[in-house]
Subunit: 192 residues, 2 copies
DNA sequence: CTAATTTGCCTAAGTCGTTTAGGCAAACGG
DNA sequence: CCGTTTGCCTAAACGACTTAGGCAAATTAG
C-alpha cells in the first residue's frame, strides 16, 4: 500500500555508501543503522546484503585498500628512485587527506585469510617496486618495506590526529624533509 | 538485606582496572558494563565515578600516556646518541608488547585541551632530549621529532596488527636495522 | 501470458551497552 | 547520637545490532 519501489541495495552499493559515510563522519561512526536511514530503508533489510556490521566494515576496508593500491601503482608508474619514493609517499598521504574515513578503514585489523586475499600484499609489492631503484638485497629490502610502511602510516596518523597542531612548523615541510631523508637513508643502505 | 560491603570504587580504581581489562581483551572492548561485572556491581553505580564510557576511556588513555612517558624517560636517562635512541625506541616497543591494550589507549584521539594537559607534550620533550645528541637545528629538530614519532607508532601498529606475519624476517631484526638507519640518518642531518 | 519461484524489503522481537532519575542505607562529622 | 553526605541500588529508556518469519514485487518457466 505504501509506495514500494525497491531501494536497489546490493553489497557493492552498501559498501560504496559506507565508504562515503566514513569520509563524512569517520569510520568508527559507520553503522548499519545510519546506512539504513540514508537509503530510507529498515535496518533489518540490510542484513540480506551484508552479514553483519563487522562484515560491512571489512568490505569498506577492502575497498579502501584496493583504491589505495591503485593510487600508489599509478603514482610510481614510470618513476624510479627518489621520484618514485616521493610519488609513492604522496599517494598515501593524499589519499588519507581526501578520504580520511576510507583511510581509517584501510587500517582495520583483518583476520589473516581476509588480509591475504585483500590488496594488502599488493602494497608490499608496490613498496618493493619503489625499492628496486635502491638496490637493496635481502633482508635489507624487507626491513626497508617495514620502515616505509611504518613511517607513512605513523606520520599520517599522527598528523590527522592533530599531533602537530601545537608546533608552528608546516607538516608539508616535515613530510618533504622526511622523504628526502629516507631517500638518503636507502641510498646509503644500497649493497648490491 | 544482602551483604552490603561497598566495593570501594573511585575514578582511579576504575581507570586502573580498565587499563588491565584493556590489556586482556583490547581497548575497544573496554566497557563500563564489563567493568561493573568485574567489580560485581550494577552498571549504573559506575556513573558516580566516571561521567561516561568515553570519560573512562580518556582516563585510561591518560594513564597509558603517562606510564609510557615515564618509561621513556627512564630509558634515556644517562644515555645519549645512538644509545639513547635505541633505548627510547625500545621503551615504546616494549610497552606496546607488555601492555597492548594500554598502548592502544594511548593512541585514542583526545580533544586539544585534554591532549595539552596530558603527558603527550612530555613525549615531544623526551624525543627532543634524544635528539640533543644529534645537534639538529630548527626546524630540523621538529621534522625529526615527527619522523621518530611516526616511525615508532607506525611500526608498532603494523607489527601488532600482524602485518609482518607473512614474511620470514624477524621483526626484531628489522627493528634494529631501522634504529641503526635512523641513527645514521640523524647524524647525516647534523648541522649545528 | 500466467503460474511458480526467487528476491527484496518489511514487522516483530530479543540482545547488549549506555545513560539518567530517584531511593535507601552505610559511613562520617559534629 | 543525629544529620548529612556518599555509595550503590532499582527502574526505565534509548540506540545499535541481529534473527525469524511474512508479504509482495520481480523474475523465470511453462
Amino acid at each position: 500500500m505504501n509506495t514500494v519501489a525497491r531501494a536497489g541495495l546490493t553489497p557493492e552499493v552498501l559498501t560504496r555508501a559506507g565508504a562515503e559515510l566514513a569520509d563524512e563522519v569517520g569510520f568508527e561512526q559507520v553503522t548499519v543503522t545510519e546506512l539504513a536511514r540514508r537509503f530510507d530503508v529498515k535496518v533489518a533489510s540490510l542484513y540480506s546484503h551484508v552479514k553483519s556490521s563487522h562484515d560491512l566494515k571489512v568490505r569498506i576496508a577492502l575497498l579502501a585498500l584496493a583504491e589505495l593500491a591503485d593510487r600508489a601503482a599509478d603514482a610510481i608508474a614510470g618513476r624510479s628512485g627518489r621520484d618514485a619514493l616521493a610519488a609513492f609517499a604522496e599517494a598515501y598521504r593524499g589519499y588519507a587527506r581526501e578520504h580520511p574515513g576510507r583511510y581509517e578503514a584501510a587500517r582495520l585489523r583483518l583476520d589473516p585469510e581476509t588480509a591475504a586475499a585483500s590488496a594488502a600484499p599488493r602494497h608490499s609489492q608496490l613498496t618493493r617496486a619503489v625499492l628496486r631503484g635502491y638496490h637493496l638485497s635481502e633482508p635489507g629490502q624487507t626491513h626497508a618495506v617495514r620502515l616505509l610502511g611504518g613511517v607513512f602510516h605513523g606520520y599520517i596518523e599522527l598528523e590527522s590526529a592533530g599531533g602537530f597542531a601545537h608546533t608552528p612548523v608546516d607538516p608539508q615541510e616535515s613530510w618533504d624533509w622526511i622523504v628526502d631523508s629516507l631517500d638518503a637513508l636507502l641510498r646509503a643502505r644500497a649493497d648490491g
